[in-house]
């Protein structure tokens, strides 16, 4: 039997020593509840498993040149990330509840928490949540806990996938959710200020937003704080290589998707939800937190701390029900950030912005193709308006070997001809040129 070391002889020896038979061990399961043999295929060996999975993998396309974004990006991942995160002392270990044998995990996560704070200009970060969407939801409930209010305002320029997740989670709860439609691709100040009052717990925005547009929320933070509410900003970590930080704008809670920090796209997961906040709110923050302390010999060590917030202690009064998080993904993120380093992260962000800018120039040079949000700054993603429905153009471009972008009609009204295109440091001048040629060809 695979992965079972004991031989039949050893099993019989053990049964004999404890004076039981195999049937005795399962006698407490009533006869009528005992299962018949499972109607699943017989087990297969390693070689056959490899071949079976390789065959399934081959039925997925990896040949398309990728310009898809929407919150999940095809970034360069240095080989050292997988080599280090693939060390089995990391990936076969459990949550570090026994700190003396888990200093590796604990210190690495402390470094990760520190990196997230430095990236976002915040003071306290947790050890990870599932993904950017559930992290945003947790930030929302955290703001509700802090302010003891029930109203949330969220702008439609926030990732629509996250918004629909939040709506699903809050369906049965006493939370009043207001959505504001974006104003020319930016968070709608007028609509937000109209709704903002002394019952608002938080305003939720994103930077760059789903359309790729860059904003500065300093004005929003001031207005939100004047009403005693909190500002929650969801952000794209690579963009923080060059963009003004949510912390410096006055954000109270910052969340985002950490997939772009060294995690493969992997068809939807595992991903990495990050969260950071101010020290004054740290006890209201969900998720595990690693802290520094001393051992009996006064040596520096790391432990899980502030556990009194968590489910295993607080149970129904916990800040969250989260138990398993995305620890190994957080490890990959700090390894990625350490390998890129201060300069490398900035250079990566520059490359993304420059290549996106180049792509924008090449594509808007095509007759009939225009920039949809003419006056907005963008980082590495932008919206183009095509002379034909974007969904059709994207399908045609797939046949030409490009995942050219995302048709916004799926999530936004009156944007049938709009396509969201993302460019990362992995895209070459040649690939961008070929996309432009292919698009021009289709639109003729």
């Amino acid at each position: 039997m695979p992965f079972i070391a004991n031989t039949t002889d050893q099993r019989n020896e053990m049964l004999k020593e404890i004076g039981l038979t195999l049937d005795d061990l399962f006698a407490d399961i009533p006869q009528e509840l005992a299962a018949k043999p499972l109607n699943i295929p017989k087990g297969i060996g390693e070689l056959q498993t490899d071949e079976l999975l390789a065959d399934l993998a081959s039925k997925n396309s990896t040949h398309l040149t990728n310009f898809l974004g929407g919150g999940f990006y095809d970034h360069f991942i240095p080989a050292a990330v997988s080599a280090l995160a693939g060390r089995s002392e990391f990936y076969t270990s459990y949550t570090p509840y026994q700190p003396e044998v888990s200093q590796g995990t604990l210190q690495a996560i402390y470094e990760y928490q520190s990196a997230i704070c430095r990236l976002t200009d915040m003071e306290a970060a947790n050890a990870s949540l599932y993904d950017g969407g559930t992290a945003l939801y947790e930030a929302m409930t955290m703001a509700i806990r802090i302010t003891d209010r029930e109203k949330i305002i969220i702008d439609d320029s926030v990732n629509p996938i996250y918004r629909v997740m939040i709506k699903s989670y809050t369906r049965n709860l006493h939370i009043h959710l207001d959505e504001t439609g974006p104003d020319q691709g930016m968070a709608n100040r007028n609509a937000i200020f109209d709704l903002l009052d002394n019952n608002t717990a938080a305003v939720i925005v994103q930077n760059p937003n789903f359309f790729g547009c860059i904003d500065d929320f300093t004005d929003l933070a001031a207005a939100v704080h004047a009403k005693g509410a909190l500002l929650i900003v969801s952000c794209y970590p690579i963009s923080l290589g060059i963009l003004k930080t949510p912390g410096s704008m006055g954000a109270d809670i910052v969340t985002g998707e950490g997939q772009s920090l060294g995690l493969p796209l992997s068809f939807g997961g595992p991903y990495l939800g990050f969260m950071a906040t101010r020290m004054e709110y740290v006890r209201k923050m969900p998720g595990r937190i690693v802290g520094i302390t001393k051992d009996t010999q006064n040596r520096r060590g790391f432990v899980l701390t502030l556990q009194a917030r968590e489910q295993h202690i607080r149970r129904e009064k916990a800040t969250s029900n989260i138990c398993s998080n995305e620890s190994l993904c957080a490890l990959r993120a700090i390894m990625y950030l350490s390998l890129l380093g201060k300069s490398g992260l900035a250079q990566t962000a520059h490359l993304c912005a420059d290549k996106a800018s180049y792509a924008w120039q090449r594509l808007t040079a095509i007759p009939g193709v225009t920039s949809h949000f003419k006056n907005n700054w963008f980082f590495n993603e932008f919206v183009l308006r095509l002379p034909a429905p974007a969904a059709d153009v994207v399908a045609a471009l797939i046949e030409k070997g490009f995942a050219a972008g995302f048709p916004l009609s799926r999530y936004y009204k009156d944007m049938d001809n709009c396509i969201l295109i993302a460019v990362t440091e992995k895209r070459t001048r040649e690939q961008i040129g070929m996309l432009a040629e292919a698009l021009a060809g289709i639109l003729k």
Binding site: N60, P99, S168, I214, Q311, L339, A353, I398
Partner: protein, 488 residues
């Protein structure tokens, strides 16, 4: 050991950048840019590799030695599952692809894998439909409770409470509370360690939306009254929720759907051998009986008549979206490979070996440690350090002493219903020799508890750090190393 930031040397860089083959044209206005780059470390690739390699050597994994954490199922993570999850055809796949027209045809392998995993889980648990979206067990619990809420809402039932045994894992009441229910704890029977129809009866009323149960329970004991309990809950139109954390105790030998459960979650990172990753990622697929299938989250993989696979989004009664895409796909790939490797005979065999290993430990340690429930257990057994407390030795001391003997400790102080609890789950992948040496260590510690308890209080001494001051960490939290924050 230094922090990675403390090793920084200005000007160093680890990676070489991809080529700049376009003009530099940052045309973002300066007010939108950060004044200085983020203070990430500046190190060579070797610096980084040495740092994290050194950290890994301060860590203990299943690959290191015996890791008998009760309720965590720390079974061996097969290496082939790591290999296949890294295939480009899985790792490079953008999740938005199937949402493009013609995109479905580009992801047939992934969709087929999800579909087949769904079918395997249905058969293993005797449920009728699965969602693979929940990103962890607790996430599955929340999804399941949301389905319970949707069911009652649809029927016009006014239900306000969820019943949960006092021995339950903390995620159970936390999940129920987050979904908006009032949690009502049900006491365990003192002789069996589990809830019984007698202990449950006073709590049955029309407010009950459902009962969350782990079976085998958190003590490793199978509940022989399970069918009666199910009938009692169903009699008030409540739903039975199965927490699958302990599925390894009945895998292939019994199925929760046959006991009468309406909703189950399974933990792929426990029963199905995906790695624990130092705390995650996991995956917690949720299965339901057919009357609840309409409430499953969007989207689901379906197989069309022509044999192709597609995502179904049109689900009007669904609870909505609980994850951004299709689940923790990389974890599901590993679990699928494992399930195919075990197959029809491998699953009950795994269970039988897990249960034998746990009972073997139980019988061998019985003379030395208090056993609150002297019953045949399933995949884990629970002791109490009650006897050792007479000389001032507690479960935590026994745990730390095991560390000095190169073992990872068992789960301690859980479940809350046993004082000084030590829950031992060997799993089926451990050999008799390993288990025997663990038993020897436990016996030695029991003897030291009487002859020389002081030495146990100082354990561990063989690790890079000794016992840590958790009070200090909580009182004055230092949870990030920060540089000067940028001026707004």
């Amino acid at each position: 050991m230094k922090l990675i930031f403390e090793r920084s040397i200005p000007g160093r860089q680890g990676v070489t950048m991809p080529e700049r083959d376009v003009p530099t044209s940052i045309n973002i206005k300066p007010e939108l840019l950060r004044p200085a780059p983020a203070a990430m470390p500046e190190l060579s690739e070797l610096d980084v590799v040495r740092h994290y390699t050194a950290l890994s050597r301060r860590n203990f994994g299943v690959d290191t030695n015996f890791y008998p954490l009760g309720s965590c199922t720390m079974k061996y993570n097969p290496k082939v599952t790591e290999k296949v999850a890294a295939f480009d055809g899985f790792a490079q796949l953008h999740p938005l692809l199937p949402q493009l027209r013609l995109g479905g045809s580009l992801t047939q392998g992934a969709l087929q894998l999800l579909y087949e995993t769904d079918l395997l889980l249905r058969e293993i648990t005797a449920m009728d439909a699965f969602t693979l979206q929940p990103l962890a067990g607790a996430h599955g619990e929340l999804t399941g409770i949301m389905i319970i809420a949707a069911y009652h809402y649809d029927k016009g039932n006014k239900k306000t409470t969820i019943l949960i045994p006092d021995s339950a894992h903390g995620t159970n009441p936390a999940s129920a509370a987050i979904a908006g229910y009032k949690v009502v704890p049900v006491p365990s029977d003192k002789t069996t360690g589990d809830i019984t129809p007698e202990t449950l009866k006073p709590f049955i009323n029309d407010e009950v939306a459902g009962l969350m149960l782990t079976c085998p329970n958190t003590l490793g004991l199978f509940n022989p009254h399970i069918k009666d309990i199910t009938d009692m809950i169903h009699s008030v139109d409540g739903l039975m929720y199965y927490d699958g954390a302990n599925l390894n105790g009945i895998l292939g030998k019994a199925r929760p759907g046959d006991f009468g459960f309406d909703i189950v979650h399974v933990n792929l990172h426990k029963t199905f051998a995906t790695p624990h990753g130092s705390g995650g990622p996991g995956a917690g697929p949720v299965g339901v009986k057919s009357h609840l299938a309409q409430y499953l989250p969007i989207s689901l993989v379906v197989k069309r008549d022509d044999g192709t696979y597609a995502l179904e989004y049109d689900r009007p009664k669904s609870i909505g979206y609980i994850a951004p895409f299709y689940g923790n796909f990389g974890i599901i790939v590993r679990a699928y490979a494992y399930m195919r490797m075990l197959g029809r005979e491998g699953m009950p065999a795994a269970c039988e070996n897990a249960v034998l290993n746990a009972n073997y430990i139980k019988e061998k340690l019985k003379p030395y440690y208090d056993l609150p429930f002297d019953l045949v257990c399933k995949h884990e057994c629970t002791f109490s350090a009650g006897r050792q407390m007479k000389t001032g030795i507690r479960a935590i001391d026994i745990a730390k002493a095991l560390i000095d003997r190169a073992f990872h400790p068992p789960t301690v102080y859980f479940p809350l219903t046993v004082k000084e609890a030590m829950m031992i789950e060997p799993t089926e992948t451990e050999s008799k020799e390993t288990i025997d040496s663990f038993i020897d260590a436990m016996i030695e510690i029991a003897q030291l508890a009487t002859t020389n308890p002081e030495v146990l209080h100082t354990a561990p001494i063989s690790t890079p750090v000794s016992r840590l001051d958790e009070t200090l960490a909580a009182k004055s939290p230092n949870i990030a190393s920060l540089t000067q924050l940028a001026d707004p």
